[in-house]
Every structure is written in structure tokens, then in C-alpha cells.
Amino acid sequence: MIAPGIKRGTAELAVLSVLEDGPLHGYEMARRIEEQTRGALRFTLASLYPLLYRMEKRGWVRGAWETSESGRRRRCYRLTSAGKKKLAPIRAEWSALFLALKRLAKVSHA
């Protein structure tokens, strides 16, 4: 299990990454993140929706109410072009961090 402090930093990357495959509503987004991280990243309502609203304010994602064929209304989020641009540097930052930690671990094991 990952500590909450680290989770906070990864949350934006997780949301942007799942939205890269297509628009999703909040529950589906949380479910996919949990499934793809094998339960390591788990969102509560208090962590997911403030994050989505913040990302929407920054213009990285855009939410819109959509009605499915079954008549259900869900607010679906999709990546904006600003969000797509943001994803690459965030990925690069995290890759650099993982690489640095990996090197550090090797040094400490030596």
C-alpha cells in the first residue's frame, strides 16, 4: 500500500492517464484506476471530486453532463488539449523520479 502523501502526487497522473483512453465519469475513472493499479491507488469521493474540479479549473479536463441510452445522466470528463500536453511532462517527471529511486536503491544495496 502506498502512503497518502505519495498518492496525492500520483493522483493527477492517474486521472490524466485513464482519460487518455477516452472520456469517463467519476465512478468509472476511480474503478479503472483501482483495477489498473491493483488496488494501490484508491480514490474516495473526498479525494476524487476535488481533484477533478481542480483539474477542470486548470483546463486539463472538461466535464459535461451526458445522458446514456438507459436515460442515466452522468458527468463525463475528457482530456482537453492542455491536459494532453500536461500528461507528457508529468510522466517524464515521474519516470525520472522512479529512475533516481532505483539508482539510489542499488547504491544502498551495494
Binding site: G22, P23, L24, H25, G26, Y27, E28, A30, R31, T44, L45, A46, S47, L48, Y49, P50, Y53, R54, K57, A64, W65, E66, T67, S68, E69, R72, R73, R74, R75, C76
Partner: protein, 231 residues
């Protein structure tokens, strides 16, 4: 069937945002819980257990309310209205008036409809282009997150602005004529008001509205088909 919105409303009581915004947050969170509960029911849980677990997995409600308030309050309602409504309304007005100016420069003139004293002057080339400007205003407003009413208001804004101009212009010019001592024929003024009102407000307003409605219908239909694809 459980009333998820009522449950969320109760837990998020005190979420002091604009009523429309509060309703949206409640609806979104309620939909999330409904989906979570249905997933657990599919896994074989009893309804009572599924509801209890969905609510417990929601996390800290006070924390959720505090974070949403802190985020959403930063954007003042007035600022939002300016961004979604007034700015885009004036943009639609300026574009449609620029279009009229361009047509005029190219020598496309207004035409008289009917003959005799009841003839109405209609700028048909301009009117033919107005649905496009109505649709454009509606599209930009929709993209900016405007509600249906806002979207349609933006699309007909040029006609509303002209109405305001007429309402201001006629009493003003009549007052001037009264002050200067020139006789005012009220029946003539009323006829001019009616004819110009049709030619410059009613017909252009209808043309703009047609464009705005079509754009809104298309955008809503596209959203619905996307939602169907999402499932």
C-alpha cells in the same frame, strides 16, 4: 429505489454554492454512489450491505464539502456569468454587426418586402447569415459550460441588444423633438417602431434563435451518443 440525491444532500448540507452548482455536485456524487452500490449488488451483496459500504467508502464528507467549497468559491458567480453570458453575447453581437458591415461594403442592399405604406425593409443577405452567428454563439457558450438558457440567450443576444437600442433611441429622439418644438406624430412613430421592430428585431431574432437551437440540439445529441458509447 434509494434516493441517492437525498442521501448526499443530507451529508453535504451547508455546501453554500450557487443553487445550480450545488445541485450539480449533489447529482454527480449521488450518481457515483449509485454506480458503486450497483456494482456491489452485482457482486452478490444485500442492498443494505451495499448501501452501507458505498457510503463508508465515500470517505470523509466534511472533508469533501470543505474541499469543494474552497475550490468552487474561488470562481465568483458574477465572474462566471460574465465569462459564459455577457462576454460571449457581446462577441456574437460584434460578429453579426461586422458581417452586416462587410455585406454593406460589398453592396448587398436591404430589400423591401411587400409594397405600399406597409412595406418592411429586410436585409435579406444579413438575415440569411444570422443563423450561423446564432449557432456560433451557442456553440462557444456551450463549450464554456453554459446552461441551455445561457446558450440560447447568447445566440439571440444581438436581437436583444437591438431591442434595447430601440427602446432607448425612440423615447430619446421623441423627447428631443418635443424640446425643439417640432410636432410629433405618434401614429407615425408607432408605425415606424413596428416596422423596424419586425425588420431589425423580430426576424433577426428568429434567425439567430434557429441557429442557436439547431446548434444546441446537435451538441446535446452528440453528448448523448458519446454517453451511450461510454455505457
Amino acid at each position: 429505489m434509494r434516493d441517492w440525491k437525498a442521501l448526499v444532500k443530507q451529508r453535504l448540507a451547508g455546501l453554500a454554492l450557487e443553487p445550480e452548482e450545488t445541485a450539480e455536485v449533489i447529482a454527480e456524487v449521488a450518481a457515483h454512489l449509485e454506480d458503486a452500490c450497483e456494482e456491489m449488488l452485482r457482486q452478490g451483496m444485500t442492498e443494505e450491505e451495499a448501501v452501507r459500504r458505498a457510503l463508508s467508502q465515500a470517505g470523509n464528507w466534511k472533508d469533501l464539502r470543505r474541499k469543494i467549497l474552497a475550490l468552487k468559491r474561488r470562481e465568483q458567480p458574477m465572474k462566471k456569468r460574465i465569462r459564459q453570458l455577457w462576454f460571449l453575447g457581446f462577441l456574437t453581437l460584434i460578429l453579426s454587426m461586422l458581417f452586416l458591415t462587410v455585406l454593406y461594403r460589398f453592396g448587398l442592399q436591404a430589400r423591401l418586402v411587400w409594397s405600399g405604406p406597409n412595406a418592411i425593409l429586410l436585409y435579406t443577405p444579413w438575415l440569411a447569415g444570422l443563423p450561423f452567428f446564432g449557432a456560433l454563439g451557442a456553440y462557444i457558450s456551450y463549450r464554456a459550460g453554459g446552461s441551455r438558457a445561457t446558450v440560447l440567450f447568447v445566440s439571440v443576444f444581438p436581437a436583444l441588444a437591438l431591442t434595447f437600442a430601440f427602446l432607448f433611441m425612440f423615447p430619446f429622439s421623441m423627447t428631443i423633438e418635443l424640446i425643439t418644438g417640432r410636432p410629433v406624430d405618434f401614429s407615425e412613430v408607432a408605425t415606424v417602431l413596428l416596422k423596424d421592430g419586425i425588420g431589425w428585431i423580430l426576424v433577426p431574432g428568429a434567425a439567430l434563435l434557429v441557429g442557436g437551437l439547431l446548434a444546441h440540439l446537435l451538441l446535446s445529441a452528440r453528448s448523448s451518443s458519446r454517453a451511450a458509447a461510454i455505457g
